[in-house]
Amino acid sequence: MFITSVKPNTELYSLEANPFLIKNFTFEHFKYLFKDTHFTIWYRNSIFISISATVITLIVSFLAGYSLSRLRFRGSSFWGMLVFTAYLIPPTLLFIPLARVLYSLRIGDTPLALILTYPTFIVPFSTWMLMSYFSTIPFELEECALIDGASRFKILMRIILPVSIPGVVTVTLFSFTLSWGEMIYALIFISSTIKKTLPVGIRTELVRGDVFYWGPLMAAALFASVPLIIVYSFLTSFYVSGLTRGAVKG
């Protein structure tokens, strides 16, 4: 991706050149990308939508995960199974009716449409993962706090949250990545060019007919993946331990 993005067009489309070598280093694709396309706007849209969806997901699944794994209440196993079933329904089954629902709510073609619908496929998984994570925290921790007179919400914020940081980080990353790379919903619910997210913008606006803009295309894909790669390279060990403690048990 990187090589293609810094090669001039003449070299890119020559049949003899070795594709791994770069003769004339160029930034023309990047320049084109940032000046002549809506790339920066899509970038901003993606960041805004992914962060909002992640925040919603975190709050919702943290609360639900805690109550499902820790609190005794009637029907808790039923709700648990419901969450699990929801987790097995892929977006591909829902995009047509959801599009209708969003347009009838008059939020089609707005960022809100995506912010509201992204949690639908992230929350069930996150909840399930946090549930398994919470169940590894010893009950004694909470009991001590209960005896000291702390309320449930205090316990949640002061005791459960700090000890479940690896799980929360995993869920955050997971949720952000999924929102960042999501394509079906973004493709269908958003139609204006300036409201598109990165993957959709790149695929639908940078490719025009038979003239392929491979250089800028690769530059765009590269730039779009960079934040994720950086974050993961720092947090890999966190992520793997969070996953292996949480996901697989579910």
Binding site: L63, L71, V83, P90, I96, T127, L146, I188, Y232
Partner: protein, 392 residues
Amino acid sequence: MVYRKDYAAQVGYSVEKMNRLTVEEFLDMAKKLDWSANPALSAYEPASENLFPIGWPGPDAFPTKASVRAQLLYILPIMFSKVVVGESTPDQAIAWAENELRRLVEEEVAYIMIAPAVFIIFFLIGYPFVYSIFLSLTNTSVGRTGSFVGLLNFARLLKNTIFQRVLINSGIFTVGSVTAKFVIGLAVALLIEKVTKGSKFIRGTVLLPWVVPTSLSALAWWWMFNPNFSVLNWIITCVIKLSSGVPWLSDAKMAMFSVILVHVWSGVPFFAISLLAGLVSINREYYEVADTEGAREWQKFLYITLPLLKPVIAIVLLFSTLMTISEFNIIYIITGGGPRYSTHLLATLAYQEGIATGNLSRGAAISLFLFPILFVASYLQIKTVRENVRRF
């Protein structure tokens, strides 16, 4: 022994009324009662204040007043009755009441906490799902409200040769991808487990295809599949010196192979990590015993590793089947379903019919063909999960 009817008689209540006291009536009763008559009971006079469980911020602080009152109504009379009819000692009754109140409060907190998730599941998953069934039974298209046509959409689809082709494609894509992902994923997991040096780096590298979303990595693959200017065919023609490049995307069979290749590339990390987690959790002692018995590597793998890994394998396979059969991004980006419908899957066809063409009900019907498969796989998965939960 003091009986409930004695209390009732003292304050002029019937026994039935004793069981359904309001807070005020209860306090009223408590005042009217001659507590000194039974010194054991007088200790419970301030019970209504002490009864709130520790951590409970008090009746007015958190849930509705009505609900607290309901709790008092239900718990306090029963607590007193228990002592009064001699069913339990005062200490037991207090313990019971406190536990019961705590449970009720917990239940209320639990419902509040789970409410947002339930809202999302019901309104943004459950409702659209039901709505898509409804749509599929009508002939709705964009800008036109349809009328009920029964199962016509499904019947037409099943007779349609393009749709039959798509069903076959989905089968090939799913079986091919899942098998390949499983074999490679297991190999990678075994490899990572054996290698101790630089494991962090290897893990990071293995994770990479998963970290980059398919909606972006597929773009790079798309470029690599370019027949004239890109890496893959350059290697084939200039390094291996084959006369002509491979028609990665223009030939129907090769196109299917190419998209499976990309899907497998992106899906292996999930298998590798999940199976690795399973491998790590296997007790070392089994292998040690096998070593002393002189077992070979493949015997250990076949008779220890695989059977113990079975629950993880089952879950990962089922989950991956669901995700594979509903694949959209890779197909949409790389082939768009072509050439000539040879790589269209249910999801991309549903998109093309339902959104691009605007035939909503037909699109909904196409996506609903995913449902039987989802249903069976979910059922099996839930069964496996439940069995595992029981075992541990």
